[in-house]
């Protein structure tokens, strides 16, 4: 490979479209949509009144239930809203059967088959683990079952496991975007960083975050070095030795993708070891799992990632009424604030509804799956988190990546983002384009995104 070009760092960040701040250029992509018409047009043709059956698989037990619980709540809320209007096309009420993703990948695949063959589901949705979507996707294709994954965000799903999806879609962002977003946020906020420590759970998510962060930071801040690495097991709650090791390497920046209960236990310990006084901290998921899981003692100024996806305070205020109204309704229904899973599974059903309505408008009657898929492909949709686009080639949902810095806001009993320092990045600038070769097709990088960065990103100077 040729030596990469060099470019001024500020120009580089601006070429990536990075914007900082609650208002400003970022707002330009957020043009408030028209208010949805109160009375929807009646459906064309004869619509059956049989229920529309959905199967929602998510973690109902075990530690990952912190993510599964909001996923199901978002799904239920959307189904209730649609059913209150009479159901899909005003006729078909949404019925939901659930399955516990904690059963393990093999059992989940069996359960998917059972849901389709015995439960006669029309739509399969949910799924959180990146270990499960690559196993479930090919089976959904084999069963010709319309499938809208909410999460399970590994690049591997559409890079390798289902390279040419027909029935399978996925709505939330792509795993590689997490590490890249954190790198851009850190490079933008702390360009003087030279020594970096890593702390990641030792499984695919942590490995992916570390790899893509490093690929991006090497180009954004050339000359940085990794001075410490730690790979605790997922589910670790004792981080005292990791913290001491990180302190001993005296980094400028710690990058971590530890999440959930692990993250809560970690930051409580790191506080007492004075870690936050000695270095900057960038995360991929500090605010991602549940807004209310953290306490006011969480330090301010931490780059608090949300899976590059959604935090209920952004877009804030009246700038994006869809979000304001979604958060209010969600809080009223569940007495808590939504996370990215809630938003993802809520959007899934509403997007399905829109696709069915469009197909009906075109052809009349109840549309078959092919027609629904035709509408979902290339669909752009206004969601609480912003504008979501389903790329037709790989059925992946793309929306601008977002991250921010933790700050205590008197309005909430937990830390939220500093509204003046929210970072948004157009997703097309941090993901491989549609025709980019997938792993195994001309390169052997772990993801198409990794190869795309290595090939096309310049190195910044200054």
């Amino acid at each position: 490979m040729d030596k990469p070009n060099t470019v001024d760092r500020r120009k580089f960040l601006s070429a990536l479209g990075v914007t900082v701040g609650g208002v400003g250029v970022a707002g330009a992509s957020l043009i408030a949509p028209q208010v949805v018409k109160a009375a929807t047009e009646p459906a064309k043709g004869k619509i059956p009144d049989t229920p529309y059956k959905t199967g929602h698989m998510t973690f109902l037990t075990g530690p990952a239930a912190v993510l599964g619980d909001p996923s199901l709540k978002g799904h239920i809320m959307a189904a209730e809203e649609i059913n209150a209007q009479g159901g899909l096309l005003g006729k078909r009420k949404i019925e939901t059967i659930t399955a516990d993703e904690a059963a393990g990948t093999d059992a989940n695949v069996k359960e998917l088959r059972r849901m389709k063959l015995e439960g006669k589901i029309d739509l399969f949705t949910g799924v959180i683990s990146s270990g499960n979507t690559p196993a479930l996707g090919p089976v959904a294709e084999e069963l010709s079952l319309l499938t809208m994954f909410v999460d399970g965000c590994t690049d591997f799903l559409f890079d390798v496991a289902v390279p040419n999806p027909k029935y399978t879609f996925r709505l939330t962002n792509i795993q590689s975007a997490d590490g890249i977003t954190a790198a851009i946020g850190a490079a933008q906020a702390w360009p003087q960083t030279r020594k970096i420590a890593h702390l990641h759970p030792d499984y695919s998510y942590g490995r992916n975050a570390s790899e893509h962060f490093t690929l991006a930071i090497e180009r954004l801040l050339p000359g940085t070095q990794v001075v410490s690495e730690s790979w605790p097991k997922l589910g670790t709650t004792d981080f005292t030795s990791h913290i001491t090791k990180i302190l001993s390497s005296e980094p400028d920046l710690l990058f971590t993708s530890v999440w959930g209960g692990d993250y809560v236990a970690w930051y409580k310990q790191a506080l007492r070891y004075g870690l936050f006084d000695k270095m900057k901290v960038a995360t991929t998921l500090a605010f991602g799992v549940a807004p209310h899981a953290l306490g006011k003692d969480h330090p301010e100024g931490v780059l608090a990632g949300v899976h590059s996806n959604y935090h209920f305070t952004y877009p804030g205020g009246d700038r994006w009424p869809i979000n304001k109204s979604f958060v209010q309704r969600y809080f009223k229904r569940w007495n808590e604030y939504p996370n990215f899973q809630s938003e993802g599974s809520y959007v899934t059903l509403h997007m399905l509804k829109a696709a069915i309505e469009r197909a009906n408008k075109l052809m009349g009657g109840w549309p078959d799956d092919e027609m629904i898929i035709g509408q979902l492909e290339g669909m752009g949709f206004d969601t609480p988190s912003g504008y979501l686009y389903i790329r037709p080639d790989n059925h992946q949902g793309y929306k601008d990546a977002v991250t921010g810095f933790s700050k205590n806001n008197p309005e909430y009993p937990f830390p939220t983002w500093d509204q003046n320092r929210i970072i948004t990045i157009p997703i097309r600038n941090i993901t491989a384009p549609a025709n980019w070769p997938k792993p195994g097709k001309g390169h052997n990088e772990s993801t198409a995104a990794a190869n795309w960065i290595k090939t096309t990103w310049p190195k910044s100077v200054g």
């Binding site: 239930a65 912190v66 097991k233 990791h242 001491t244 090791k245 302190l247 310990q269 070891y273 306490g295």
Partner: protein, 292 residues
């Protein structure tokens, strides 16, 4: 240098909690010949109960120093659970084959995990107020939470207390006699049922105490019990199941090796503990202090 001191303290801190869990597991196996799969989850119950009580006490305005009293209370609740679980769930299975006992304690694990989620939800529960009652220490240029020293102290006291209880009291003699020959002990007039119940409750108390003292430093989170169970198994495999010294030495080995792994070989942090367990199994299948 201060890093070395702190890493040694970190290891002792981790060993204290591991010892409490593994000693209970070993005690129950030593006396009752039951491998209690639910043991880690009982540790989690101790953590959750303590954190929950602490939240209530702080809301009521209890002076912070008094919160220390909630540590034995949290452990006591788990011991009480042990008094109920042993006669109701375990006793009917003593005469059955071992796989039944494994199944019934594994079932208990699943039930308790769901009970925890049902009672306390999925969010982590924290109790770090207690940690801040103990002043922060300065070691070299670094800080170290004083509370961790309290945990190390409690771990050491528990080890001494348990040793004294088993080797220096009449109850300890009955316990050891029952563990060596249940029928002979019974023939000599020892109330074996009561000994079993007490042994199980003491084991539960140790696990609960482990959970209670760790929760101010970390948090009560779903899945912490299963994680602890696996580590406790590594400890008893190394030290020998049923042996108190084994639990102590095993906990120390696991903690120090883990810390060394984290500091020097981060890539194999996961593997290194199992590696030691495998080596011990190859050389001495009964564990360092176990007897076949």
């Amino acid at each position: 240098m201060s890093i070395l001191v702190i890493q040694i303290l970190n290891s002792l801190f981790y060993a204290s909690v591991l010892f409490l869990i593994a000693a209970g597991l070993s005690l129950i196996f030593g006396v009752m010949r039951i491998v209690n799969m639910a043991h880690g989850t009982l540790y989690a119950v101790g953590a959750y109960v303590t954190a929950w009580l602490m939240g209530k006490a702080i809301a009521l305005g209890v002076p912070l120093g008094w919160l220390f009293l909630l540590l034995p209370v949290g452990a006591g609740v788990v011991a009480l659970a042990g008094f109920v679980i042993e006669p109701l769930l375990l006793r009917p299975f003593y005469r059955r084959a071992e796989e039944y006992q494994l199944l019934v304690t594994f079932g208990l694990l699943l039930i308790l995990e769901d009970v925890i989620r049902f009672l306390w939800g999925g969010m982590p529960i924290t109790a770090d107020t207690l940690q801040d009652v103990v002043p922060i220490m300065h070691i070299g240029g670094l800080v170290y939470p004083g509370y961790n020293l309290v945990v190390i102290g409690i771990g050491a006291l528990a080890a001494i207390g348990l040793w004294a209880g088993i080797y220096r009291t009449k109850f300890g003699v009955m316990l050891r006699a029952t563990s060596q020959d249940r029928r002979m002990a019974s023939a000599l007039g020892i109330n074996v049922g009561l000994v079993y119940m007490s042994a199980f409750a003491i084991g539960c108390f140790m696990a609960g105490l482990g959970g209670a003292i760790i929760v101010p430093s970390q948090a009560a989170v779903l899945g912490m019990g299963v994680d602890a169970l696996i580590l406790a198994f590594v400890v008893v495999v190394i030290g020998g199941l049923g042996s108190l010294q084994g639990a102590l030495v095993g906990a120390l080995i696991v903690s120090f090796v883990r810390t060394a792994g984290i500091q020097f070989f981060p890539e194999i942090e996961l593997a290194v503990l199992y590696l030691i367990a495998a080596i011990v199994l190859l050389i001495k299948p009964t564990g360092l202090f176990g007897n076949a």
